[in-house]
């Protein structure tokens, strides 16, 4: 028997939970029933971000007292931007560009903020259930009318085990997709219904560690952003160092997945980044204690799909709602959530009928376009494409967009047109050997990849079907020939390795970052859902 609800929200990240809170709080008459589902073991366990949050997003959602009580690690008291030229040399940008400044903003663990939002959502009467992957949408006559959860208790050959649990159907008048970046259902819906914007989405892979350092050496609230080395000046990449307490530092590195050189290994770039003089001084005598990775949809304005289809709305990162200059999306995700709730709660007829006719979708899209976040995205709409021509052009476009408040350039700069998978060039084995010779030595602050994976807390039931399905194994052989199996390098969790001339997929390491389905040059990875509740268990990311 199907479970019935007014609203089904897929994904208990900030966008999904904010939608739930706004729906329950802002309803004037009967409060709609709201079910929120997430594949992570608990709310926040698959959520990872920098994160210096632009607090503006919380204002329409939470009370002042709630914002005050939100888990916040530190407030930014000192910030700097540096351009790294090589490992030992960087220049401090003498003045922080005002549009980039985050003085006074909270530095948070988005995992913890998500737990906090989940508590509020539950208190408001939303039903938040975690450990359930939503694996397909139910569509009837072109209208999304619900979704189905994944089965549990299948063995590695797909046979039912003693504790087999069948998938369950949830019927809803409105389905809100809040899956985050590279959402599986979202992307399928976008492809099936041709909802993509002018450009395909383009991503960066973000890798992050929490590092403990001895007391008395660092100041809480000091933050630094860098660009340049170890990325070459033709690829969009940058790092951050956030001191969240006297003894804890968040260190992260994001690298654009439209990179062309097949020998690139983002995890090694992250390690090199930590050796840069201006970074190393912040993590001296440190020890890595937590790790995670996730893709960031950074295509911006032109990569945003149509945000609705009958019966269904898309919110947050899953819709690519992110400022691609500041690489900030949480506040826009929250604004889109509030807009979705407002559109759903508007007067003008029965909920189901308005959803079916597309009236809610239209209202939602209109409301999103009135948010400050959307205006911000429009202002920097050309920045990401300009960066694809190299760092100087990107910086110039960012500056111009700021100075002219987005008026110039007033046309769409071409760039990033093909999607990330197509960008890769054939591998030069000599380049690969050179890169591998430069590998950074391991230490407590430079764990190797598998040690880091352990610190993500990732757990998958081993006896279940592999959720990373290779569509055509023959293509892997061709890829090895041409690209040298780049999956063995771009995966931040060492899921893919070559053994006995074949590709081995250790799915239980998977951090659900989705890089493989984005960057595999053969588009040969079918990312399906593992058993609900499996995956990373972030607690402080």
């Amino acid at each position: 028997m199907a479970i019935e609800t007014d609203i089904l929200i897929v994904g208990a990240g900030p966008a999904g939970l904010a939608t739930a809170i706004a729906l329950r709080r802002q309803a004037t008459g009967r409060k709609p029933t709201v079910v929120v589902l997430d594949k992570g073991r608990s709310a926040g366990s698959h959520v990872l971000s920098g994160a210096i949050v632009d607090p503006s997003g919380f204002k329409d959602l939470l009370t002042d007292a709630e914002i005050e009580k939100m888990p916040c690690e530190a407030k930014v008291v000192k910030e700097s931007f540096r351009c790294n030229f090589f490992a030992g040399f960087s220049l401090k940008i003498p003045w922080v560009p005002p549009m980039m400044s985050s003085m006074g903003f909270p530095v948070v663990s988005l995992t913890k903020v998500t737990q906090y939002l989940a508590d509020i959502a539950r208190r408001e009467g939303a039903e938040v259930y975690t450990g359930y992957a939503v694996t397909s949408l139910i569509e009837e006559g072109g209208v999304v009318v619900g979704a189905k959860t994944g089965e549990k208790g299948l063995d590695k050959d797909g046979r039912k085990k003693g504790n087999y649990l069948p998938g369950e159907e949830i019927r809803a008048k409105v389905v809100v997709l809040a899956e985050g970046g590279s959402g599986i259902l979202t992307e399928k819906l976008i492809a099936d219904r041709k909802l993509q914007g002018e450009r395909p989405q383009t991503y960066a892979l973000g890798i992050k560690e929490l590092i403990e350092v001895p007391a008395g050496t660092q100041t809480a609230g000091e933050v630094m952003h860098t660009f340049g080395w170890p990325a070459d000046f033709s690829t969009y990449g940058g790092g951050f160092v956030y001191h969240i307490s006297e003894t804890q530092v968040m260190v992260g590195y994001a690298y654009a997945l439209d990179y062309t050189r097949a020998e690139i290994d983002p995890f090694q770039l992250f390690r090199q980044f930590k050796t840069a003089a201006c970074v190393a001084s912040h993590i001296k005598a440190g020890k890595t204690v937590a790790y995670g990775a996730k893709v960031i949809p950074e295509g911006g304005f032109y990569s945003v799909p149509k945000l609705s289809t009958p019966g269904c709305l898309i919110v947050g990162d899953g819709a690519g709602l992110l400022d691609s200059l500041r690489i900030k999306g949480v506040h826009i995700a929250l604004q889109s959530a509030v807009a979705a709730a407002k559109a759903i709660l508007a007067d003008g007829g029965a909920l189901g009928a308005r959803a079916k006719s597309g009236a809610i979708g239209e209202a939602y899209e209109k409301l999103v376009k009135e948010t400050p976040g959307w205006r911000e995205m429009a202002r920097v709409r050309n920045v990401r494409a300009a960066f694809s021509y190299g760092l100087p052009w990107g910086v110039a476009a960012g500056g111009l967009a700021w100075l002219t408040r987005g008026a110039f350039p007033n046309f769409r700069i071409p760039g990033c047109e093909e999607g990330d998978a197509k960008a890769l060039q054939p591998l030069d084995r000599a380049d690969l050997a050179r890169v591998q010779a430069r590998a950074v030595a391991s230490s407590p602050v430079q764990p190797d990849r598998l040690t880091d994976v352990f610190m993500s807390g990732v757990i998958h039931e081993e006896d279940q079907p592999c959720h990373l399905r290779i569509r055509n194994p023959a293509l892997c052989a061709a890829c090895e020939e041409k690209f040298g199996s780049p999956c063995t390098r771009f995966c931040p969790a060492e899921v893919y390795r070559r053994e006995d001339g074949k590709l081995q997929v250790d799915f239980s390491n998977c951090l659900h970052c989705k890089t493989c389905r984005i960057k595999c040059p053969m588009e040969n990875v079918d990312w399906t859902f593992p058993q609900g509740g499996d995956g990373p268990r972030y607690t402080r990311m």
């Binding site: 359930y132 959860t149 504790n163 649990l165 369950e168 949830i170 807390g457 268990r537 607690t539 402080r540």
Partner: protein, 267 residues
């Protein structure tokens, strides 16, 4: 038939670290879960429900937030749930806990003896394995520990219990208290529909007054065990390695010398 399953909310110790300076548990970022061994006990209870139509009640003692594990048990199929919670119970050792739980079980059963009380073999935080046996004493009901398999009908049971000297096959008729091993079963998953039902269910809460508990036998007062200090076990250094890949005889000699030096073998 009435089965009572006692469960405990514990920190997920896979994530627990100890602050080296204060020797206290660092709880930051540590989730609370159902004690994993209690999941096997619960599953055995639910299996009896499936087979015999038994009623399954779950009970936990802990702070108000421990209600979460009761709801999870109900989502899997338990019929009702009881939270034993009060400041007065705080700081209880295994003796005071056993007393308090036995009073709660009496209350749940309206003074009658339950047919079967199930526990996990031990909790992963305290590792004492004493509360199950303690409750059996207070209830004056037979006890079988370390149950590896359980077959039962409405009135009698046959279990295999794993002891130091081998496996004991025990038969008997209810009532009985049992502590259950991991080998017994695989816990089921809660269906969403079960969560939905559990979310709306009433959970009865008992404090010391409701249980008419003897104030000197509960909480810190009722606990003869005192925690003097907490410390992490010393980290073991790496062992000595003998590389015998090139010269097996020399390797064997090195190992023989080592054993002699320790006085473990004679020359």
């Amino acid at each position: 038939m009435h089965v009572i399953v006692c469960i405990k909310q514990v920190p997920d110790t896979t994530n627990v670290r100890i602050n080296p300076k204060t020797n206290t548990l660092m709880r930051e970022g540590v989730e609370s879960i159902i004690n994993p061994f209690d999941e096997y006990a619960l599953e055995e209870g639910l299996r009896l429900k499936d087979m015999t139509g038994a009623k399954v009640s779950v009970v936990t003692m802990g702070p108000p937030q421990a209600a979460v594990v009761l709801r999870e048990a109900m989502a899997r199929g338990a019929d009702d749930a009881y939270l034993v919670s009060s400041r007065a119970f705080g700081g209880a050792d295994t003796l005071a806990t056993s007393y308090t739980l036995s009073m709660a079980i009496r209350k749940i059963c309206g003074g009658r003896t339950p047919d079967l009380v199930l526990f996990g073999k031990q909790a992963i935080d305290g590792d004492t394995a004493q509360v199950g046996p303690g409750v059996s004493e207070f209830l004056d009901v037979p006890l079988v520990t370390y149950v590896k398999s359980l077959k039962a009908d409405k009135s009698s049971y046959q279990v295999t219990s794993v002891m130091d000297d081998g496996e004991h096959v025990v038969t008997g008729s209810f009532p009985c208290v049992m502590t259950v091993l991991k080998e017994a079963t695989t816990p089921r998953f809660a269906p969403l529909a079960g969560w939905r039902k559990a979310a709306k269910a009433e959970i009865a809460a008992f404090d010391e007054k409701a249980l008419a508990a003897d104030p000197i036998r509960i909480g810190l007062t009722g606990s003869p065990t005192k925690v003097v200090t907490i410390f992490p076990p010393p980290t073991k250094g790496g062992g000595e390695k003998v590389d015998a890949r090139t010269d097996a005889a020399a390797g064997a000699q090195a190992i023989a010398d080592f054993l002699q030096k320790k006085g473990l073998v004679k020359a």
